[in-house]
Assembly symmetry: C2
Homo-oligomer: 178 residues x 2
């Protein structure tokens, strides 16, 4: 059986953690996740659910309630597949591949003149500080004892964010004093 894509993996995982739940709920979880990378549009999630159902990884309640809600649960095969997906993290490319759109752009900062550069960096730093504060608050709200895994994920998001922010300070320092 083919391996799951990232979106398939997280989606199945979310369904597993909150089952029985709806596809709509999964979308909400994805949107509010610390890595807000997941846009999880309707056009991706519903076909995805249909796909996973056809593969026998999850089952849906027949034509839902009067409101049209279909409740999803993960099958045993599905559970096994999530495990394999989680374990597939232990590969060089997944460990190394951390893409940062800001870092990517810094490589081409020389295209801007000096004043544009410092203005841009100030904007970036301001936005990053905002985001960092948000992740800090989310972390403090995250109940450490109740859901260790959720807490650890929030902690990771916060620490990565902190590292990026500190790096941006260094970038500004070396480009301004240059």
């Amino acid at each position: 059986m083919r391996s799951l894509s990232e979106l398939e993996g997280v989606s199945l995982g979310i369904i597993y953690n909150f089952q029985p739940c709806t596809a709509y709920f999964v979308r909400g979880q994805l949107k509010s996740s610390p890595s807000s990378h997941w846009q999880a549009s309707a056009g991706s999630v519903y076909p995805l659910v249909a796909r996973l159902e056809e593969l026998g990884l999850l089952s849906a309640s027949e034509d839902g309630d009067k409101r049209g809600r279909k409740y999803l649960t993960v099958t045993q095969t599905g559970e096994q597949q999530i495990k394999e997906w989680v374990l597939s993290g232990a590969q060089q490319d997944l460990v190394s591949a951390i893409m940062d759109p800001i870092r990517t752009r810094i490589a081409f900062l020389q295209l801007l003149d000096r004043s544009e550069q410092s203005q841009y960096l100030n904007e970036l730093i301001s936005l990053m500080e905002q985001f960092f504060d948000e992740t800090l608050i989310k972390l403090q709200q995250s109940p450490k004892e109740q859901d260790v895994y959720g807490y650890l994920v929030a902690l990771g998001a916060m620490q990565t964010s902190e590292a990026r922010l500190n790096w941006l300070y260094e970038v500004r320092k070396s480009l301004v004093s240059k």
Copy 2:
């Protein structure tokens, strides 16, 4: 004019930094970039170059040399587009959206039993240490005076990597001692 995708942005940027150069060279640069997220298969780069040429953002030497090489250069319009792409980094979603496949998987670690968890975490940490060492070496080889931007990118990759590794240590600590 529509805005550039991430891959289009970096590719144009690379061509700008190294022009005149070939599409093949761009692929090589993408592969060796610190964010090795970019796979840059032939099937993506060549159509991309054709696309950007049609948009008038870059121009290619007519049917290349005997060896078939086509040299690419960025037009003035293209230069302006890179600038806009760089500046487009100052948006909340780009500042926040840092996706980490490892962090994503930790959210579902409870599916593994205790011994599987610690074995998995040890594997991850071992791989991360390897990758961190590599980024450190790359950073030390990166000539700080000659190419500040390249140095800063490498520095960012190293610091993010360091933060992730330290986070993984904390994850292991809290899950083992639990």
